[in-house]
Symmetry: D2
Subunit: 109 residues, 4 copies
């Protein structure tokens, strides 16, 4: 663990919060919303977990490895679901989740 890894992980978490918020909002406007239920549900969880993890990292909390482990799980689940859908917002969210999962795995307990 070093400063550069922490920095990269904060940035990945914040980008993932935004991708998840954007994706959930866009899913709520999709004509095929019936297919997007799981996506909205997971976006919501992933955004919350990434946001909390980012703040623990910013403040240098000793809990950050355990938070990063949880965050990697949240991101993996969200990426798996978003990756199934062709919508641009889903594909971008899946990519942000995978990047955040990778950054979190580096720091995870």
């Amino acid at each position: 663990m070093n400063e550069q890894q922490i920095r990269a992980c904060i940035d990945a978490c914040l980008a993932c919060v935004e991708a998840c918020e954007t994706c959930a909002t866009a899913c709520l406007d999709e004509p095929d919303i019936d297919m997007m239920r799981a996506c909205i549900r997971l976006d919501r969880d992933c955004a919350d977990v990434c946001a909390t993890t980012a703040r623990l990292l910013m403040r240098g909390s000793d809990l950050h490895p355990q938070a990063c482990a949880l965050c990697a799980e949240a991101c993996a689940a969200c990426a798996a679901e978003c990756g199934k859908h062709d919508h641009g917002h889903c594909q971008r969210c899946a990519a942000a989740c995978r990047a955040c999962e990778a950054a979190c795995r580096v720091l995870a307990a």
Copy 2:
């Protein structure tokens, strides 16, 4: 895992958020603030993790066992520190943290 355990854990998390917020605020007003640094730091983390865990539980997230595992760690660390101090707010916070840790362990992954 059952409804009653989830209910108990949500309530314990919310009580812990409040105990931590109250304790951090009171610590910031203590004449011996120099001794309260770790307490304020851990209250802050514990409140954030308990708040996120409570919301994942409320929404029935599949991530709740992992979130409860993280929350139990946050509570244990905060209880250990708060328990060292005689201030009423610290003792009440330590008790709330221990109760939340126990409720989270029941549901943790």
Copy 3:
């Protein structure tokens, strides 16, 4: 403003967070999800604003009157939408939002 009003407002905010989280989750499982888009969207905002307001109140923040003003708006918008739907979770959410709006108006700037 007094202790009892603060206490009542914290409790109303926390009850509203839970009602909104529960309602959003249940809406995501409804067969008529096409009708529930606005409800899910507003539940999400209302839960976040109520959660932040509760924590500012718990810590005795000087910002609480302005936060309560924002929270009353969030609750009013969510109650208006949820109140249109016959689902039990929507009706319970509308009631929790109205109660939280009233408690927030007492403390609002």
Copy 4:
């Protein structure tokens, strides 16, 4: 209000969350912590309000003008306090708060 203003405000809010988290953590390590009580208190509030505002902006919430109004107040209060202290983290936090206040005023109700 336009896309560019929203983008700038999200970025300013996230930068302010990080500046406040960093400042609070650093204040908790300062030898003169007795002087930093108000700074820690306001950093805490400002970080929470900026984080919630950023997420409402990301999701395109109709509540964002009222949230931005609250956020501008939180930032102004925090900037005023942090600006009194010579610590680098305080000066950087004051600057981030002022930038966020300005971006929020553009979008505020």
